[in-house]
Symmetry: C2
Subunit: 235 residues, 2 copies
């Protein structure tokens, strides 16, 4: 397959909840992980109480609000993210580091089940970056690096995962990617997107669109300019 | 700017929590919404108790688990997603429809604050697709369409948003995008990715990588083949 399917594709399969339950477990994780669409790819940096660093890739980072600036992530306490979760609970601090196209295989490799005493920085060849006010390690190869403070944990009863709510404390980013209205151009930064469990995608910008109103047509926003009147804060 | 920045970019700005608090509100929403990385773009279809349809774009869809198949989304009860949230609470049913490159301006336009009695299908020109077993409307132009049943709502104390947990009941997708191991190729499907509040990106696949283990090198997965022994279920 080489092209991209047109919209309103005529030939759709239908899979039901029972079909999903009957799938081979490997097939099911691949299939269901494809359903939410493209995913954020973030390396989470933490340190335990003894100072040992840990690095783990997640694909469940989400925006929760901008004032205060809050980001969420999902942890599966019994799974590979266990060290990350325990370190965050222990220290209250963690970092989000955007996965750049140049090191996505190393980012993927952090999902291997290394023993607790092994640093994923050492084993994957990624470099620790330290900031005097932040206990948790950043990834020096990441163009966007964010320090967070844990403010809330919400257990999901339906399957035992946990939503961690973090407040943004520091943000590091290349000056050149910040547009005049505050938007950071992630494509220009080399940040990539994920899909499923193991698929990696380069992102190419199609457009930015003006703030939508019922009674006026959308316009394409020029880079960093926009129309201030047309873009009131909505979140 | 025309290229993509290299990794380990030498010229990083540092912005603190206080700097973010001092930003103009418009700048702050653009800036903070850029931080979680690339986002899923989903049109949520709902219907109220009287049968009136509603359609709303979200960028907070996340995978919560595959067995049972659970997807999450964030609702801001006081904001534009209010009709969506009220309809989901009223009927318990909703649909996720992947945004395709051919209709992202219409998808963006659903974020306008239409009165409750106006259908975003009518106002944006998107087409309702009905399934006899699903109350909520799907988007006929979407290649991937998912019906969900609400199973849990989790209020986030820190800022008053709510995590909705939905179980996957039906999935419609083009036969051609399903790879042999269950992965659905979202790039081939024409699904796009978002960033910030209003930026839209086409995704081009770089690779799929084998299941990571501490003691063996990663391999590139051939399309739909993979190495079953190397890919045990991890979520």
């Amino acid at each position: 397959m080489t092209g991209t399917l047109s919209s309103k594709h005529p030939d759709l399969e239908c899979v039901t909840r029972d079909d999903i339950a009957a799938m081979d477990p490997r097939e099911r994780v691949n299939f269901v992980n494809s359903l939410p669409g493209f995913k954020s790819l973030i390396l989470v940096g933490t340190r335990n109480g003894a100072g040992l660093p840990n690095l783990s890739i997640i694909s469940t980072a989400i925006h929760l609000g901008s004032d205060p600036p809050l980001l969420g992530m999902i942890c599966r306490p019994a799974k590979v993210e266990r060290h990350t979760y325990e370190n965050i609970k222990e220290t209250g601090t963690y970092t989000f580091n955007h996965v750049h196209e140049s090191f996505y295989p190393q980012a993927h490799q952090t999902s291997a089940r290394y023993p607790r005493e092994i640093s994923e920085f050492t084993s994957t060849g990624l470099t620790e970056f330290h900031h005097p006010e932040v206990t948790a390690p950043f990834v020096a190869e990441a163009n966007l690096r964010i320090a967070l403070k844990l403010v809330e944990t919400l257990p999901v009863q339906a399957n035992g995962v946990t939503l961690l709510v973090g407040e943004v404390i520091h943000v590091f980013y290349p000056t050149a990617i910040r547009e005049r209205d505050g938007y950071l151009d992630l494509g220009e930064a080399g940040t990539i997107a994920g899909a499923g469990l193991d698929a990696y995608y380069r992102a190419n910008r199609l457009d930015r669109l003006s703030y939508a109103k019922p009674d006026r047509p959308l316009t394409s926003l020029e880079r960093g300019i926009g129309d201030p009147e047309a873009s009131p804060p909505i979140r």
